[in-house]
């Protein structure tokens, strides 16, 4: 493991920022720390960098305990949200500073800065001062500075936050290739779930200073550990309905607006518990006529969103459900009525009080 955080705890006065966080990042792996603002993502990153001391826990780089070492002794690269370029140095000198710290020779510096400049497409502005650069160029310069010394561990603190949407989109496509080329262990902080999904080999979900789940993007999306996690991923957000599962022969069923719906196998242990049903909008299909495992709904509104259309529907008891379908594949629905059918396998069941997901058990 290139970077290991073990049982990290950090409080500012009485305010606990991160608590008992353990996380590891392998060589060449990108782990995205994701969570809403104020959950301690940046603090965690700064602890890894040595900017903050820890109250408890360890930071290991390549197996070496660096917990008490100063930032310069850790051999890291880091890019900041606000770029943090040295305003009195040219872009070249900004990037070169990482090599100068490592006592590289002049020709070596020139070569490496040029190379990373070409890679990040800033080779034509290397002689400029930060104030003469566009936001996108600043951000690329900051990345170049972090990358140029080929650090073992790379820390990126929401580097795309302050660049415009187009650029963010481009970088989201470009970054994984660039990062993989250097083979560093990358810890990447963001509050944009799409960025997290696009870039992360794994996503570490941080909530209220604690790790809620660490998993591959697809897994976090399909099998979120809790209601809170489920709500953070997906746009439109997941449908959540309070339900009380009952036994239905070998399987389990619930009822919404007096319509009985089957949830499939493996959930018998949820019977008798107060639960929350979670269904992603794209797992709900609207049909003109009755289907097995469907409930009648009224269509309230339709909104196009990116390449899909979101449909707001309402069940007989007033429960609102969001469904989505690919745009252009419009199904004409008579007088605003439809049947919402969903795939039992895609249904998630959470314990209502703790919010924790109830696993489906085999057998």
């Amino acid at each position: 493991m290139s970077l290991e955080l073990k049982g990290i705890r950090k409080a500012f006065r009485t305010n606990v920022a991160v608590d008992d966080v353990s996380l590891d990042v392998a060589d060449g792996e990108i782990v995205v720390v994701f969570g809403p603002s104020g959950t301690g993502k940046t603090v965690l990153l700064r602890i890894a960098a040595g900017i903050h001391d820890v109250d408890a826990g360890q930071v290991l780089i390549d197996g070496r305990d660096v917990t008490t070492e100063s930032p310069d002794a850790r051999g890291l690269g880091m890019a900041f949200q606000n770029f943090a370029l040295f305003p009195h140095m040219t872009a070249f000198d900004n990037v070169a500073s990482a090599l100068r710290a490592r006592k590289a020779t002049r020709t070596e510096i020139a070569e490496k800065v040029e190379a990373v400049g070409r890679l990040l497409k800033i080779d034509h502005v290397l002689s400029h001062y930060p104030r003469e650069l566009s936001n996108g160029q600043k951000q690329r310069t900051a990345l170049a500075r972090a990358l140029v010394a080929e650090p073992k561990v790379l820390l990126l603190d929401d580097p795309l936050r302050n660049v415009d949407a187009k650029l963010r989109y481009e970088m989201r496509l470009e970054l994984p290739n660039i990062l993989k080329r250097f083979g560093s262990a990358v810890l990447y902080v963001t509050q944009d779930y799409k960025e997290a999904m696009a870039l992360g080999d794994r996503i570490a979900l941080l909530l209220h200073g604690r790790i809620a789940q660490v998993a591959a993007p697809a897994q976090i999306y399909e099998l979120p550990a809790s209601v809170e996690v489920a709500r953070l991923f997906g746009d439109p957000t997941i449908n959540l309905v309070a339900v009380d599962p009952v036994a239905d022969r070998e399987e389990v069923a619930i009822s919404i607006a007096n319509t009985r719906l089957n949830l499939g196998k493996g959930l018998r242990h949820a019977v008798g518990l107060s639960c929350t049903l979670g269904v992603r909008p794209e797992a709900i299909n609207l049909h003109a006529g009755p289907q097995p495992n469907s409930l009648p709904v009224e269509i309230i509104a339709e909104t196009p969103l990116n390449e899909k259309t979101v449909v707001l529907t309402k069940a007989a008891d007033g429960q609102e459900l969001l469904a989505s379908r690919p745009s252009g594949s419009s199904v004409r629905l008579a007088n605003g009525r439809a049947y919402a059918a969903f795939d039992p396998a895609a249904a998630l069941i959470f314990e209502r009080d703790s919010g924790r997901r109830i696993e489906r058990r085999a057998a």
Binding site: E69, S70, D72, A73, G75, A149, P151, K152
Partner: protein, 308 residues
Amino acid sequence: MTAAAEPIAYRRPRARLGRRALPYLLSLPALLSCVLILIPFAVAVGYSLMRYRLNLPMLRGFIWFDNYRQFLTDPAFWNTVGISLLYTALAVLLELLLGLGIALLLRRPTRLNNFISILLLLPLMTAPALAALMWKLMTNPNFGILSYLVGLAGLTDFRWASAPSTALLTVVLVDIWVYTPFIMILLLAGLRSLPRQPFEAAALDGVPASFVFFRITLPMLMPYIITASLFRMLDAIQQFDIIYAMTQGGPGDRLMVFQVQAYLERFQYTNVGRSAALLMVLWLITNILSNIFIKNWLRLRERAHGHA
């Protein structure tokens, strides 16, 4: 990354120790000068509790609070207190009114106004002792331009700092000349930093100018006014340069403010103990003032630098 790994290995122990000690190391020299100031201060406290006259070295010894007790019945001491307070009150009040007036005149940041405000800084950057000499020349009865001007107005025997009745006003005038720009420049910065909305709203509603001034401008400017006045009070009550350079405390004891009195006590009458006690009394006054001042000043400073 072997290149990065090598220096790390040898830097490690040093970084740990250095990191905790660093702020102390950096401020060590400043701490040293701090301590070196506190030594004479402690000695001064000691002196103030002693009978200590350079011309009577045999009599040197602790008399505890006798120096202070003697002040209570000493008319010279009360004269000093009275003159110092009067000087401070007159100077600061007039400077405040004048400074505020000028700041209002220069409020709009036009090029001309900025140029004038820079010119007005010149008196402030003149050494007060030298400023006093300038005014001494200007009020010279033989050729002083001011003596000539008041002569034209009919006051042929106006003797400025040499006459008991006008001495205080004359030195206050010099104080005003030197220090009004200080108040002006602070209030001007304050005025220009005020938010615009209340003034625009008042202008739209046709609120009369006097109402705007007393109900909007003045209250919003108050933090600056308080800080500037306290700053000036602290300096004015300790005024030495102007008065000493102009009249050495005279005529008679008309201008015997604290520090001039203490200076003469030490260097003319060689009474070290009494001089120190006098300065301790002054220090007590300034210390109270400076505590109030520092609180206000810190608040303004936080606002200027945008952090706690």
